[in-house]
Amino acid sequence: MQHLVLLLLGAVTLSVSLGQDYLSYVKGGYRPVLVVAGALVVLLALHGLLRGSSERVYHRLGGLLYDSARSRAPQPRRGGRDEHDHQHEHAPRVAWLLLAPVAVLLVVAPSALGAFTAARQAAPAPVAETALAQVATNVTGLGPDDEGRPYRTMALMAYAIWSRGNPDAFEGRQVRLEGFLTPRAGGGWYVSRILISCCAADAIPVSVVLDGPATEDWQADQWVEVIGHWAPPQLHPTGGYPEAVITVDEVTPTDRPADSYED
């Protein structure tokens, strides 16, 4: 039976990693590793199933031969069936637990981490001093606007770094950020993204304060596109550390992208 558990585990791993769903749990580059692992688990399961059935056939044959042999010449009660039974693979009972992640995937199909995780962040976004130094001395600035648009699209982490390291670069520029809405402690909203370096267990949220009026229909986890201007950092209401801010010109609801984690 446990071979079927493995078969299910391998099949679900394959289907998750061949589609888009795996992007909610692990980093995009992890896909080939998952596909190979899923295929190997399926292989192990099929090998077990085949071996199990061929063993059963063998045992039945062996049992028949043994019984017919015994009927002719009785032998001491040794060997025979007992010996064969020991050769079965007794799969451990703990293996049934492998059905738990399979069940959660099939029943809940949890989506990528969002506002709940972002709101739990209690420290400034981790920005390396070397990254700050790099943008401070970068003469090329933010780079050109998006083609045919009056703004430049930036990753939230990049915005947070430039906002601290080289605010002058935003002079006269419009910026576009993409992410989900997270309520801010003490009122107001952030646009947030989650960074992962391996899987969702190592999530690091990055949030930028939205400076501007919110509409009634804003909800946590709603994906939005924010177009706006740089504004000076504000202090976190309880933590007291500076947070990057964008003055909002326009907020448009969008759909959650397949790969919602920021690189």
């Binding site: 998750v16 693979e89 293996a95 370096s197």
Partner: protein, 309 residues
């Protein structure tokens, strides 16, 4: 185990009253699935390697490759951890297989502790995560290797063989091909270790979602408490050793030594690893080995942090 989970849920319900509201459970499910999916390839690698050790590599190879005196075999096996490019999920079945093949438990345990911590992938990830502090890579390497070797020697001096119960592995019928034997052994290990991995993954996801990050910031300025808190955090979060450096880099309010402790403790003791060890070597082993490793890892990280950082 079930009792622990129930207790955690009850405590969690008290700490976070809206525990069973949507977002908490949704985040838990995501992290739980993520830990299991992320660990699966490493586990598959580990059980296949372990199967290969059990069936393809002759036992005489290890007696020739390792010094016969366990005191010397421990550092050699610890240094050999450099070659297994996996995380902790891969090294547990491999270490179990080594003991079955006649390698002294002390040496196998040194390998078990060093492999997930000092392999090239982990060291490169650490260098990428700490661009401002390149000495972190050297500190991690030295401290983790030190933990592995000290624990190996400690086991040799104090460990008793009856604490270590290798579970019964079914005999492969005679006449089975070596490849079929390898697959059977790998499948059995996968079913067994996989079940324990799920227990560890569920525990890690629960603590990941329940422990408020603001608790961490409250102790960051306290030098001793900060080290202990990050050591405990490494145990409860059970982040893969190839990604833990990025999380440590994010704990910017903590001292470098505290973050080094997080990196040294994590690959050696965490809830996922304790579950896997209990499954492979027996609960009596895990109950003694995990706390001892925790203490040795914290002390080594403090010593190396003081000397190098």
């Amino acid at each position: 185990m079930l009792g622990i989970v129930v207790a955690l849920v009850l405590v969690g319900r008290y700490v976070v009253p809206d525990l069973f509201d949507g977002p908490v459970l949704a985040a838990w499910s995501t992290v739980f699935v993520a830990v299991c999916l992320q660990a699966l390839p490493f586990l598959v690698l580990g059980v296949l390697l372990s199967g290969a050790i059990a069936t393809l590599v002759p036992a005489s190879f290890f007696t020739r490759a390792l010094p016969s005196r366990p005191q010397l075999a421990v550092p050699v096996a610890g240094a050999a951890g450099v070659v297994l490019p996996g995380c902790e999920c891969a090294s547990v079945p491999v270490a179990g297989s080594l003991v079955r093949r006649g390698v002294s438990p002390a040496a196998a345990l040194a390998f078990l502790l060093s492999a997930p911590a000092i392999n090239p992938i982990v060291l490169v990830a650490t260098a990428v995560a700490f661009p401002d502090d390149p000495e972190m890579v050297a500190a991690r390497f030295v401290a983790s290797l030190l933990v592995a070797v000290l624990m190996g020697w400690l086991w040799h001096a104090l460990g008793r063989d009856d604490w270590l119960v290798l579970r019964h592995r079914p005999e492969v019928p005679t006449g089975t091909g070596r490849w079929a034997a390898l697959l059977s052994s790998a499948r059995h290990d996968l079913l067994h270790a996989g079940g324990f991995l799920v227990v560890g993954g569920a525990t890690a996801a629960t603590l990941n979602v329940l422990v408020p990050r603001s608790w961490l910031e409250a102790v960051a300025d306290h030098s001793v408490l900060a080290v202990l808190v990050l050591a405990v955090l490494a145990v409860v979060l059970a982040i893969c050793s190839e990604a833990d450096a990025f999380v440590a880099a994010g704990l910017t309010s903590f001292s470098l030594t505290a973050r080094l402790t997080f990196l040294v403790v994590g690959p050696a003791v965490d809830v996922k690893l304790i579950a896997l060890q209990a499954g492979t070597f027996g609960p009596r082993f895990a109950l003694r080995f995990a706390p001892a490793t925790f203490v040795v890892a914290v002390l080594c990280a403090l010593a190396v942090g003081w000397a190098l950082l």
